[in-house]
Each structure stands twice: as structure tokens, then as C-alpha cells.
């Protein structure tokens, strides 16, 4: 199992140099959304890490609109021409297309962590890059079972996010109003904590930089409690992000846990990070069940006997029905079933039908409003069906 981590600042590597990580994702100000180091610093860092015999990956995860895309490409071309980058990690499909077309020598790590939640999607984008893709970054929302299955089905390495802050969104807008508030930190970032009475969680961390605004979950993600299971997954890399708590102590504690993965060592690491942790969707994606509950199909429209809906009820006098379908089936002497919103059923033998002038009629049109005799218990929004079995007791009706 390989370990990957992120370098946002050129100084980050000094903490991580003697750690179990074999791959370092380098995030620059120019090409990534959260990077703080300049392209020049990144160049030197990539050389330094290579000299240590470890692998670097240039992170290009900016979503760039058409007008800025050309500038990004120019900067990237310039950077790649003078750097030792051999592998890039891309998120935007446009950048993926660019690298595929213009840099046949570069290996690609495809970041599909958002918007790609099924095997066909993953396989499709993998096939698009052919043998150029060396690794796919999977969604944080996959369960243990899905990760295991994908590791067998995908003909490439996979990476999951196993430890660190959980980014909830990225907006290109200035939500904290960084410029209006006339505040710039040394890194050009502005931070705030947010809470809402309407949310079950408090203490969201919000950060704004020159790429927009980012929101992080109050808790961090930790799948390291399941390390024994994860080690059984073939071709799996774990990515770890110590931000914003990266320090010598944190890396030391992580290294200790990695060499001796006992609970006590993990607890010490978590305590040092200063956050509480969740396991996210690792043991199951509970949104699957909830989505089904949210959907309330209106199956009555599929019933071949569905006629329409009650619009108005005049107690003891009449009810108005809007004919929605099967207008040709409703005739004098038909029997109707009324199903109220609470599910109660009543029926009516149709002895007379009247139009909106209350004149008797015997033929109906779709979308017509008709008046029938009052039926006890029927309320507006009651659904009306033709009764094909005629097995319900008939309620007596009043005259219109």
C-alpha cells in the first residue's frame, strides 16, 4: 500500500522528508486551488524530492473558465518545459484533454472524486486516456464494499482519501468578502468559523483565497481505524492531508502509527490534530436509503381507471371533479371510487353529471370540470377512479 500526501507550501516537505510517504502531490498557487507555493519554489522542491528518491505529482485542480484557460495553459507550458515533472494530477476534463494531446510523455493521475460515482463513468474516463492514466482518485463518498469492488474491476491503481480535513465545497466567489474587508494574510488567505442554528453541525471552517472560497467540515475524516481491511485492497493508495495542522510532531506520530498501527498510536495522532473525526461513508453510504424516501411516486396516474381529481366540495350538495384522463369511460351509471388524501375510499353510482353552468350533460371532454352529487367524506384533492369491480358499498348521495 502506497502513501500519498500534499505539499501546499515549499516548507512543508521539511516535516515530511523522513516519513513513510512515497508520493508528494505538489500544490502551487498557479495551478491548484489551495496551493501556496510559487511555481519557482515548486520547481526546486520537485528536484529536491527527486534527489531523495521519492515521487512528485504536480497538482492541476483549478476549474478554469474559457477566458482564463489560455493563460493557465501558457503558464503550464512554460512551467513544464523547465521542470522535472513526470506525473500530473488533473481534475478538469479540459486539462485532462490538454495533457493527453500535448504531453504524451506525462503520466496522469485522474482526480474523479466529484461527479463520478459509478464504475461506467470511471472506466469511461480511464479508457479515454488509455495507458496514460496511472491512478484514479476516487470519491470520498464510497463505502468499503465499493472501494474493494472497484479495486478489482479497475485496471489501474486507485487512491482514496483516508485522513484529513473534508472540503465541502469550492465557490469561485468571494464569500468572505476578503477584498472588501481589506484583509490579507501572508498567504493571501482569510479564515473564519461559521455556525448556524439551522445546521446540526457547528464550527465549519471557511477559507477564502484568490481562487475563491472553500468550506471544510468541522470534523476531519479518518479511515485509519480500518487499516487492516484497507491493506487487503489491491492497488490502493491512501492519501493523507495534515493541513492545517502539519507539524513535526504530527508527522512523527503518524510515522509511529504506520510502523505500529495500534489504537493508542492512532489516538495520539488524532489528539495532536486537535479535531474530532468521522469515518464518512466508509461503512455505508446512507444517502442511498434516504434518496428513495424522498421520492414519492404518483403512481395513480398509471392506473387505467384513473379519472381525475376533486377540486371543490359543497357539503351535502355537490363536488367538482377535474377530468384528467379516461373522459370517454365516465358515463351515466358508471361507478366511481373516491380515494381521499388519507387513503379512505368512498364510491358513487353516477346518476347525473353537470357542467359548470349546472346543466346536465352525458358526454365529457378531457380537462372539463364536472359536478357530481356530494359524497360523504370526500375532500378536495381526492383522487377519482372508475370502479371496475363494483364491490364497495354505495353511499347515498344528495341531489345537486
Amino acid at each position: 500500500m502506497k502513501l500519498t500526501t500534499f505539499l501546499y507550501d515549499s516548507g512543508d516537505y521539511s516535516f515530511l522528508k523522513n516519513s513513510p510517504f512515497s508520493e508528494f502531490v505538489v500544490a502551487t498557487k498557479e495551478f491548484s486551488s489551495l496551493g501556496k507555493m510559487s511555481a519557482n519554489d515548486a520547481n526546486s522542491l520537485i528536484e529536491k524530492i527527486a534527489a531523495d528518491g521519492k515521487k512528485t505529482v504536480l497538482l492541476i485542480d483549478r476549474l478554469t473558465t474559457q477566458s482564463e484557460f489560455l493563460t493557465l495553459i501558457e503558464d503550464l507550458t512554460l512551467f513544464l518545459s523547465g521542470s522535472g515533472v513526470k506525473t500530473v494530477r488533473v481534475q478538469d476534463i479540459g486539462i485532462y484533454q490538454f495533457i493527453l494531446t500535448h504531453y504524451p510523455q506525462l503520466k496522469i493521475q485522474l482526480d474523479l472524486k466529484t461527479g463520478h460515482h459509478n464504475i461506467y463513468s470511471l472506466m469511461g474516463w480511464l479508457a479515454y486516456g488509455k495507458e496514460r492514466v496511472e491512478k484514479i482518485v476516487l470519491s470520498k463518498e464510497f463505502s468499503q464494499e465499493t472501494i474493494l469492488r472497484y479495486s478489482k474491476e479497475l485496471p489501474t491503481d486507485i487512491e482514496i482519501y483516508a485522513f484529513g480535513r473534508i472540503q465541502l465545497f469550492h465557490s469561485p466567489r468571494s464569500l468572505l468578502k476578503r477584498e472588501e474587508r481589506d484583509y490579507f494574510s501572508a498567504e493571501g488567505e482569510m479564515w473564519a468559523s461559521a455556525k448556524s442554528e439551522e445546521s446540526p453541525h457547528q464550527g465549519f471552517r471557511i477559507m477564502e483565497n484568490n481562487r475563491g472560497t472553500f468550506m471544510f467540515h468541522p470534523r476531519m475524516l479518518c479511515l485509519l481505524d480500518y487499516l487492516d481491511d484497507l491493506k487487503k485492497v489491491v492497488n490502493l493508495s491512501l492519501s493523507i492531508d495534515f493541513s492545517p495542522s502539519l507539524s513535526c510532531d504530527v508527522v512523527t506520530l503518524f510515522s509511529l502509527f504506520w510502523s505500529d498501527p495500534k489504537n493508542e498510536n492512532l489516538s495520539n495522532l488524532k489528539a495532536k490534530m486537535g479535531n474530532s473525526f468521522i469515518r464518512g461513508f466508509y461503512l455505508g453510504n446512507k444517502t442511498d436509503a434516504l434518496i428513495e424516501k424522498l421520492k414519492v411516486p404518483m403512481n395513480y396516474r398509471e392506473d387505467p381507471n384513473f379519472i381525475g381529481e376533486v377540486l371543490e366540495v359543497h357539503k351535502n350538495r355537490a363536488i367538482a371533479v377535474k377530468i384528467i384522463q379516461n373522459s370517454e369511460k365516465l358515463k351515466l351509471n358508471s361507478q366511481l371510487i373516491f380515494e381521499t388524501p388519507e387513503g379512505r375510499k368512498q364510491k358513487l353510482n353516477v346518476k347525473e353529471i353537470r357542467d359548470i353552468n349546472l346543466n346536465p350533460i352525458d358526454t365529457l371532454k378531457k380537462d372539463a370540470i364536472i359536478y357530481l352529487k356530494y359524497v360523504r367524506g370526500v375532500v378536495p384533492r381526492t383522487i377519482v377512479f372508475l370502479n371496475s369491480s363494483q364491490d364497495l358499498e354505495v353511499h347515498n348521495e344528495c341531489k345537486i
Partner: protein, 410 residues
């Protein structure tokens, strides 16, 4: 005034007006008030789990109704589908093709592949896929997409450029609620409410009121704000720009919104597009009148978001999030007796003597003073109740499904 310059009137590019159809009722309303196309969802695979989505029978009826009115129907299959959601998608695609759906709107390559393998349906890429540059559009085109619904981060000019470079149809949102985050990349609901925002479960946490403590402020200082709540999009005055940049389709957001919203927005944009099609310029009076009408539906404060310039901090509400209601719907015309009366299905109560407006399909709305309200038995009613039918004075050119509204007292 927006000038026509020396362009030839006959060469004006007229985009399609694409309205939301969250239910059969709203589909009819959208078409009646001038939509060229509607988008809707079947009973699965969509992002609007709580909308009154269309059952197969309703869908067939909707297609019949729409095509009889020369209106196209696009079906959304734009949830980010998980493996378990995909069973049946191939058969559903075949069914949609068989009944004559004009296109499907899809977010991910997996769903796209299954649809392509089972049908020849035209595929539009959902805004959820955040396609914001030409190379991305090219990659999606290579996958069989015929139209891109641009990410909400791109401008009209950028969309036009993508179209020219790639040779693909472009669709942009022109009106309605906006996500402040990159669509499809927001997982607040997923991680805080266990609801997958990208499969129809969005909890709208971005609309909440938050207390913010800035790290650089002194301890204890909190700022209250709807800091994540985007203002609503309004692009009515930008129709000439959409036309000049040959944007193929103008999309109105709002499958979850009511019939009055659908009717009002569709009608106004239809009128504006018709004026533009005739070769006229938009006078400031016209734009002002349309803006006034757009104020009459429930909405947040309006902004142009990214349509012209990059959306800045002013496109976020911060200080208030209440939807502004100038008008409310009081009912829908469900029947009429020529020259005698309109039969109104009451949705919100009103009183004898109240002034109402009948929102005709074209032209100005017509004021009706309710000097006398009668029920179906011709008995006078002092105050109407929801879920009753009442007779209003007859209005020339009114027709079934026209909506009746009333100014809200403030």
C-alpha cells in the same frame, strides 16, 4: 437602449426558451406562456427528488401535449448516479426514445454510456458536470454530447467562444436561483445531513443564516450573514448578448417553483425574445417594464451572476435571504363561459372588492375588480377559500390555465 448596430434583422439568432416543468400542470403553463422547450424528470434518475415528477403515463401525455404545441421535451437524468441507481437505465432510455423525447440531460459519463448503448437519444450535458472551457466541451463532444449546459461560472461571451471553437450547441441559465459553488462539487448536504445533493437531496444549507467569526477579528466578534446565499439570476436585459453570441438555449431554473413563477418568467422572456426576433431594439422602457414584471414573482434579489463579468461578493445576499413577494397567486382558471364568467380554482383566499390581475398568455395583464364573487350555485361569497371554485367577471382573451394574481399588501 441596446443598439442593433447595422446587423441585418433577418440574420438575428433567436435562442430557444427552455422552461422548467416540475409537474404536468406547470408543463402546460410553460407551454401556454411561450416556452420553446421544457425540461422535466421522470420518476427517477433526476436531481429534483421532491418535485412532482412525471410517471410514464404522464410523460407520454406531456409529450403529446408539448409536441402538439411545437414544444420540445428534455428529460433530466442528471443525478450523479451510483452503481445501484443504474439498473433499468438502459431500458428507460429505450422507452424515452420510443415515446419521442427530444433529448436527455445527463451529468456523468457512466449514465451517458448506458444511454448511448441502448438508444440514439440526443444527449445534453448537465450544468452539474461543470463544463467551463472549450477543451472540456471537446472531450464531452467526443463522448457523444450534442449540447453543453454551461457551468454557471461562465459568461455569455465565453459560452459563445466555446460554441465556435468546438462546434457544439450551448445552453446557459438565464433566470432563477443559483448555486454559489461549482455545481456538482458541493457536498454540504451529503456530509452534514446524509442527503446526497447531487442525487436530488440538497438540503439548501447554503441558504441558512450563519454567524461568522473571522480569525483576524478580536475574540467574541461575530458577523451574521447569509454569506453563502447567491442572489437570483436575471438576464432579461442581456437577451441581445445571448443572441449575438449565438447561445442556442436560454434556460429558466425552477422545477420546484409554482405555476405563477413559471407563467410569469416564461411570458416575459417570450415577449422579449419576440421583440428581438422582430428586429426591434430593447428600449429602456421595455426593459424596465419586464424588470417590473419579474419583480412580481417570488424571488431573492436579482443579479447577473457571471453572465457578463465574474460574480463578485455583491452577488451574494449576506444581509437578507427572504424571498421577495410582490404578488401572490390567487388561482387558476379552470373553466369559462364565453362572455359570462371565468371559473377560478382558488389557491389563496381573497375578498369581495379585491383587485386581481388575470395573467394573459400574451399582452398586459388585465385587472379585475371583484365587486361580486359567486360560487357555482350563483350565491355571493364575501371571502373565498382555497380549494373552492368561484366565478369571476369574464375577461376577453382569458383561457384555461391562465393564472390570476394579487398584489401583496406590505
Amino acid at each position: 437602449m441596446i443598439q442593433c448596430n447595422n446587423e441585418k434583422v433577418k440574420e438575428r439568432f433567436i435562442p430557444e426558451l427552455l422552461s422548467p416543468a416540475g409537474s404536468f400542470e406547470k408543463l402546460k403553463t410553460a407551454i401556454l406562456y411561450g416556452a420553446d422547450a421544457v425540461y422535466l424528470s421522470g420518476d427517477k434518475y433526476s436531481l429534483r427528488a421532491r418535485s412532482d415528477n412525471f410517471s410514464p403515463r404522464e410523460l407520454e401525455e406531456a409529450l403529446f401535449f408539448a409536441h402538439n404545441h411545437n414544444c420540445k421535451v428534455y428529460v433530466t437524468l442528471n443525478g450523479f448516479l451510483h452503481d445501484g441507481d443504474l439498473s433499468g437505465l438502459g431500458g428507460y432510455a429505450q422507452y424515452l426514445e420510443k415515446i419521442g423525447v427530444d433529448a436527455v440531460i445527463v451529468s456523468d459519463l457512466g449514465a451517458m454510456k448506458i444511454i448511448r448503448d441502448h438508444s440514439h437519444l440526443e444527449i445534453h450535458l448537465s450544468t452539474q458536470a461543470s463544463c467551463v472551457n472549450a477543451l472540456s466541451a471537446q472531450a464531452w463532444k467526443n463522448q457523444g454530447v450534442s449540447r453543453i449546459v454551461g457551468g454557471r461560472e461562465i459568461s455569455i461571451v465565453e459560452a459563445g467562444e466555446i460554441k465556435k471553437k468546438v462546434g457544439i450547441e450551448m445552453e446557459l441559465f438565464i433566470h432563477g436561483s443559483m448555486c454559489m459553488a461549482y455545481s456538482g462539487h458541493c457536498t454540504i448536504s451529503n456530509f452534514t445531513a446524509g442527503r446526497d445533493s447531487n442525487r436530488g437531496g440538497c438540503a439548501h444549507s447554503c441558504r441558512f443564516l450563519y454567524s461568522l467569526s473571522y480569525d483576524h477579528d478580536a475574540p467574541g466578534i461575530e458577523r451574521q450573514g447569509h454569506f453563502m446565499s447567491s442572489k437570483d439570476l436575471n438576464g432579461i436585459s442581456l437577451i441581445p448578448h445571448f443572441s449575438f453570441n449565438e447561445i442556442d438555449s436560454l434556460k429558466v431554473e425552477g422545477r420546484m417553483k409554482g405555476p405563477l413563477y413559471v407563467a410569469t418568467i416564461t411570458k416575459i422572456y417570450r415577449e422579449a425574445l419576440n421583440i428581438w426576433k422582430k428586429g426591434d431594439s430593447f428600449s429602456s422602457e421595455m426593459v424596465s417594464e419586464w424588470e417590473n414584471e419579474l419583480e412580481k414573482v417570488s424571488h431573492r434579489e436579482y443579479a447577473a451572476a457571471n453572465l457578463v463579468d465574474k460574480a463578485d461578493s455583491k452577488t451574494v445576499l449576506w444581509n437578507k435571504d427572504q424571498e421577495l413577494d410582490d404578488y401572490k397567486i390567487v388561482g387558476e382558471i379552470v373553466g369559462l363561459e364565453e362572455g359570462k364568467f371565468l371559473l377560478l380554482n382558488v389557491k389563496n383566499s381573497f375578498l369581495k372588492g379585491d383587485r386581481l390581475e388575470v395573467l394573459l398568455t400574451t399582452g398586459s395583464s388585465v385587472e379585475v375588480v371583484c365587486e361580486k364573487i359567486l360560487n357555482i350555485f350563483d350565491e355571493e361569497v364575501e371571502k373565498t377559500k382555497p380549494s373552492t371554485l368561484v366565478k369571476l367577471p369574464f375577461v376577453l382573451n382569458a383561457q384555461n390555465l391562465n393564472l390570476v394574481r394579487q398584489r401583496v399588501a406590505k
